[in-house]
Symmetry: C2
């Protein structure tokens, strides 16, 4: 059996023992990080949550204690009582906060022994992720992982402090509930009491938070667990966490201001500065300039509209596109003129993934202009294009002519690809931007109908309400997304608080009365009883944490994440269950 801490009290944390304690007796408890023998003396580094401190066992402490110290191995859990002293000159380690002192052991208890761990307890290991997840409790011992878990606590605590100070109440909403309107696949939970019926796990607390506004709670928030049963892409998890907010009697600007204050506090935890007022950019401008509603503002290479310059060109691909209502736009890959043909072909393949029919290019090489399209363009047209794209010798101009949405997607993505591949994105630069004035609807080609860009409760801009019937795709909404470095941090909207307007929107979306009833009947009914103007926003906590802790894997910021196959190598969940359990639930497995 191991020893116990029965009559012992920890006096200090390892990382906190300092020169102040020199000559004092301390008791520390923790894990053996490292043990080495040198000149007949045993040195051990002891680790706890706070850090590491060095403990020294001299043979003078007595034969039995020294022999016991000699049994110590990595990851043994021990308690040490000893006297703090300065390290001898040559042994000072300035990389370690406790590197000027050491503890001369007087007593040692071995609280638990340890097998050799399958993961090294240190940063920068190359252990496969499957092993790291299976032995997550060891992986979390590594300083980097422990730091992230601590940061996550700090981020959620700061969120709660800030929102509490601003009059928000944290209110829990159900996990066992009904399908919500996000439209991803739900996780289902069979009901035993009502066989044949199922709960759904929430994809977000959207409907509940709106009901809370109807109930007069005025300022709600929740750090809420959400669930989506989707095929997992790289940084997705079946369960994830959202900072979810909703406010009554506010306009869009007020939600954005509250959010800015929160972001300022949260990012400061990661030493990232958020401007007092974040730039606002309309959706239209973002698409025009960056080909994306999530523009990455850390570098230029903006899209320039060449349509006007080439609309009368003899080059039919350009002029014809403009004539049909399309666009001709280009970007300037500075210094890219000498890209080999294979690279440029790669660019063309790439833009085709975004439905562009092709990619025209003009390379301004040292020895002259090279371009497969130059021969179709006049001198003046080429000069105008060069001027519009601010081209200099050495640049590669890349041009797409197509319908507007294809041009934006093609060049917006090509811009990102070139920037990433050529190191054009500066490190540790953080460019926040609000995207506002989104269209309320977008046209879904596959389904040949309008769909809501945010969700069907998003309010239209007042001045566009009269176009809901006549020209719905031109109606702007009161939706807003916060974008950082080309990634969406969060998004929200002012909601419709009037049933007549809500019905108009449903009818534009072609959502039948029955579908309305089935999906959100109770929300619509609630709206009958006096609904305040309200709006809110939600942020993905996991992504925030990735940025603040500067890690590229979502699995690093969650204590017990799942694999991309939605399994847990640690617990082996999901797992088979007894037939009896299924029978109680009124379900059976399909064979």
């Amino acid at each position: 059996m191991s020893e116990t801490i029965k009559d012992l009290k920890r006096t200090h944390l390892c990382g906190e023992v300092s020169e102040k304690e020199i000559k004092k007796q301390v008791t520390i408890m923790g894990w053996v990080q490292k043990r080495r023998d040198h000149g007949g003396v045993i040195f051990t580094d002891i680790r706890d949550r706070s850090g590491i401190v060095q403990v020294v066992f001299n043979p003078e402490i007595g034969e039995s204690l020294f022999a016991k110290a000699d049994t110590l191995r990595s990851e043994y859990v021990i308690a040490i009582t000893g006297e703090v002293r300065s390290r001898p000159e040559g042994n000072v380690n300035l990389d370690l906060p406790t590197g000027k002192i050491e503890i001369k052991a007087i007593e040692l208890r071995i609280l638990d022994k340890a097998k050799t761990p399958p993961i090294q307890i240190e940063d920068n290991i190359d252990t496969g992720e499957d092993i790291r997840l299976k032995y997550r409790y060891l992986d979390l011992r590594r300083p980097k992982m422990k730091k992230i878990i601590g940061l996550r606590h700090q981020v959620t605590k700061t969120t709660r402090d800030y929102l509490d100070q601003n009059g928000f109440w944290e209110i829990e909403t159900p996990i066992l509930t009904k399908s919500s309107p996000e439209g991803a696949r739900d996780y289902l939970v069979p009901s035993r009491v009502n066989p044949g019926e199922f709960f759904a796990l929430p994809q977000s607390p959207q409907i509940f938070k709106q009901l809370l506004m109807v109930s007069g709670m005025e300022r709600y928030f929740q750090i809420a667990r959400c669930f989506r049963d989707e095929d997992l892409r790289a940084n997705r998890q079946p369960e994830f966490t959202q900072i979810d907010m909703e406010m009554s009697f506010v306009k869009q600007e007020e939600v954005m201001e509250i959010t800015e204050g929160l972001m300022k506090e949260l990012f400061s935890i990661g030493e990232i500065e958020v401007p007092n007022k974040i730039e606002r950019m309309t959706y239209e401008e973002a698409i025009n300039r960056f080909g994306s509603d999530k523009p990455d503002l850390r570098f230029g290479m903006e899209l320039k509209d060449l349509s006007e310059l080439v609309k009368d060109s003899d080059f039919n691909i350009f002029s014809g596109t403009v004539a049909k209502g399309g666009q001709v736009k280009g970007i300037n890959f500075k210094g890219g003129a000498d890209s080999p043909r294979s690279t440029i072909d790669g660019f063309e393949e790439y833009v085709k993934m975004f439905k562009a029919k092709g990619l025209a290019w003009i390379a301004l090489r040292e020895n002259g202009l090279k371009s497969p399209i130059a021969k179709f363009l006049s001198e003046a047209e080429i000069e105008a294009i060069k001027s519009k794209l601010e081209a200099q010798k050495g640049d590669l101009l890349l041009i797409v002519a197509d319908q507007a949405s294809f041009v934006a997607a093609a060049l917006g993505n090509l811009r990102l690809k070139i920037a990433k591949e050529n190191g054009l994105i500066p490190a540790e630069v953080y460019k926040f931007v609000w995207i506002i004035d989104f269209p309320l609807f977008e046209y879904d080609e596959n389904e040949d109908r309008l769909t809501a860009i945010h969700h069907p409760f998003t309010a239209p801009n007042e001045e566009d309400v009269n176009k809901l019937d006549s020209d719905p795709t031109s109606v702007r909404s009161k939706a807003y997304d916060l974008v950082l470095n080309g990634e969406e941090l969060g998004g929200g909207s002012i909601r419709i608080n009037n049933n007549k307007l809500q019905e108009k929107v449903f009818s534009a979306l072609n959502i039948s009365q029955k579908e309305q009833e089935d999906k959100f009947g109770y929300l619509l009914e609630a709206f009958d009883y006096g609904t305040p103007p309200h709006g809110g926003i939600a942020f993905g906590l996991d992504r925030l944490m990735m940025i603040i802790s500067r890690t590229s894997s979502i699995r690093d910021v969650i204590a017990f994440p799942k694999t991309q196959k939605a399994t847990s190598p640690l617990t082996n969940a999901p797992a088979k269950v007894d037939k009896k359990q299924l029978k109680e639930l009124g379900i059976s497995l399909r064979s």
Copy 2:
């Protein structure tokens, strides 16, 4: 269409408008609580989250505005701009914080109209709970309910502040996970990616919090959602919330002290005082004195052991019970001597529910002693019993002779029944007590084996470890429950942090190697790699909230609760789902 707040800004909350604002112009927004016409003037009470303020519309404000005011009905959502003024002498309402002032309306916007609500927006309504749950968003508008939701925010915020200050990190554990060892029925979630397999929703984060201790997080907490698919008793919910904590390198006393500090802060929110140091009582003493490990200390009527007094009695039911190792114990129902025979018969029926074979009684009536057993007892025995039970004229002595556990259950419950029925429990008295030194095991008659009283990871007292094989039921554990007024608020234990000891306990519990592997294999494996001494505790947040907000229904302290049939009348969850969804999950309904 309704009007909007486009160019308006709320300057004050209703409940905050005070005499300071007299002669100033303010803009408030909220719901029409009440509207009445008096002397050609329209009075409305406007309500928001903060409270109520009176708004006055005079005809002088102009015909159209007055006509608009005349359309106001209860629960309309409006914005008012007006001038604050003192109320005329006779109209001052001192019951209302804003009762000395009123707002003379200058502008009115109707932000949303309202149908007549099916629930009165006021306290003390007699609306059935089914209606209240269906229209929960209206029920939550009532002052009492809104206050509880606000208190719940305050309680969780205070919990987080306190635990953060004490070095705890809040760490989220999975909701989609595997069965945990609590042994109640799990909610299951079919996996689509791994057909035929299921996640379980956690009954508590028990295993994860212990893994976090293995991982060196040292101080964990979480306000955690937990799930149990049980047939619902009165104050149970299928999903409930737990304040869950775990600490490393601590002894039982340290967990209890941290907990006491937390309880002090939380109960002070409800103006309930918690002593600096809560009384500790051993399990043995609690059973001996109160017949319960959840003793209600608000009143006396303690159980007294009469065994020694009657062990040689001619009355064979008493002496025979003692001879067989049983007990004879009694309680004194002060002033109960004149209880009619039917009441006493009722007591007897009641104790039989707890397996007692019968109930003996002695009534010390004004006109002499009345008792069916007196004739079998000697004068001296009767005197000794009276003396032990501190009996006076007018008292009713109630005695059970049986095996010890039946005696405790019978008299412990009878004591509570009599106290409740006779108003012996003082209101607004709060008696906290720690119950410690629980037995590690109890004998389960049905299964003819030992079971763990807390859970199988609970550590035995060091001095009892050597009795694990020889006399397991005498082994005390390092478990502790916090009890308030006869109800368990929370419980926890120091855990076993040593595999050898854990194996001994499993073997005493007769848990097979295979069952160990299946149920907690990964926790046991984790224990191989250096486990610190650790322990923790968990509290039911919902019950805490019931006490702090002085409500008797758990459904009052949860924003969106479920019925006792585990359904939501609001959302109609659970509900039928598409066959397509079930097919994707690889399950089908049993017909």
